[in-house]
Symmetry: C2
Subunit: 238 residues, 2 copies
DNA sequence: GTAGTTATCGACCTGTAGTCGAAAACTACC
DNA sequence: GGTAGTTTTCGACTACAGGTCGATAACTAC
């Protein structure tokens, strides 16, 4: 247990921030916030927002601070750590660059409809069809997408992607965009309703152009993103 | 996006390694690997094994390397990242110590029965009754325990705590030690059996001193810890 | 052989979720 | 106003996973 000399690392934070946008056909589609690198390495490629951690802040505080430079922070409804990415060669050494940078990856969510103004180099890109991603940021996006898929099905994390009020069809579209397969709105209502996650507002959405019965508006019951996981197996005896 | 001067941090890894031991009454009990600090700060308190990350290794490699100094690494059946602990004051600055140390916390598992020889200052301590823990290591233990409890109920992670062959009563004891409440061995068999997680060996354990039918021996089917999560809701349509 | 002990299996019940079709509530057109 | 078309909503039905409990099996000790 001899005290080492000061082997130190630069530490950066990187967030894969998702939101729900529209694809060419108007269907809900999962998007991720990216900016286009201007400098070496990987100039021209899409990269995740983030940056170096300062001396007086936690990695979580740092992530919030750096995201605020890209999007309105009030629009970010959820932010959680994903893991540490620390391959020695994940960022190539170069002039004015430290030899090693350790990164803490985050998963972020922005509700559908909250499309804040973005800087010039920044945009929402469709997750399904991403051009090559800078450095190891593609790995972080994949891990974030995996985490999102998993949690959406057993927590109320979809709250982070849904607008304040929504119809069941809209919510089913969000689930479809995240999970990659169709969701029956009828089943969604019963499942989330019984879990106590959603409740009706009492009003209906304006009817669509193609007619049809106007849809009731719903909201999520919990304002905060307290994760309520209803694992079935091995509960305490009653 | 101006390139900062080199703000760097020491980075350490810390593992909460659990195993199954026996309590005073012979019941299965969850233990965590700790060593007693000799120096400031928090001299005399129990602390998690770990240490500084070197320049040429990932945090995961570093964790494995540092654990090998405490226990036989072959005995560690599972090791996964928990999260980053980065409060600016989590490690007090002092003579010969950097002002800030960022830590990556890990959850580790050692199977019951594999009790390798330990260094003088190191021992397995009962998780339920821990004396005050050094620095923020108590937080890491709590987070690791939470993660373990959650994953044990919807994955095959108990494999990491169980011996190669076991009876259902033994396995139920492991689950009870982890979850903190009784588990019906009968139900455990049906649930894990249907999930394809366990299978019978074909032999029986030697009967106990107090008589009774000899118990069949089981093993986990998957040698590796591939996590198979059978979340029920929102599956793809068939 | 009989009592005591432990393990195993099956029956039964409950709760959750997928599927599907009927009814409700609207628009558009004649 | 009536009819066809569209979309939502609700309920019935089914399948399946898991908790509970009692009966039976397989042993030891006397």
């Amino acid at each position: 247990m001899t005290e080492q000399g000061a082997t130190t690392f630069q530490h950066e934070v990187l967030a894969a921030v998702f939101t729900i946008g529209r694809d060419l056909h108007g269907f809900a589609s999962l998007k991720v916030l990216l900016w286009q690198r201007a400098q070496w390495p990987d100039a021209g490629r899409w990269a995740l927002p983030g940056g170096a951690v300062r001396l007086d802040e936690t990695v979580d505080d740092s992530m919030s601070r750096q995201l605020a430079e890209k999007v309105d922070l009030a629009g970010v409804s959820h932010l959680e750590q994903l893991g540490v990415f620390s391959a020695p060669d994940r960022v190539p050494a170069g002039p004015g660059r430290p030899a090693r940078v350790i990164a803490t990856g985050f998963l972020g969510l922005v509700p559908s409809g909250v499309t804040p103004s973005l800087p010039e180099d920044t945009d929402w890109e469709t997750v399904d069809r991403l051009s090559p991603i800078a450095l190891d940021h593609g790995r972080i996006i994949d891990r974030a997408h995996d985490r999102l898929r998993a949690k959406v099905s057993y927590t109320n994390l979809a709250f982070g992607l849904a607008p304040a009020e929504f119809t069941l069809a809209e919510l089913a579209g969000i689930y479809r965009a995240v999970l990659g397969h169709d969701i029956d709105p009828s089943n969604l209502q019963r499942v989330l309703g019984r879990r106590g996650m959603i409740e009706t507002v009492g009003r209906t959405a304006p009817p669509g152009a193609s007619g049809g019965r106007p849809a009731a508006l719903y909201r999520f019951t919990t304002a905060d993103l307290t994760v309520t996981d209803p694992f079935a197996a091995f509960r305490p005896p009653s």
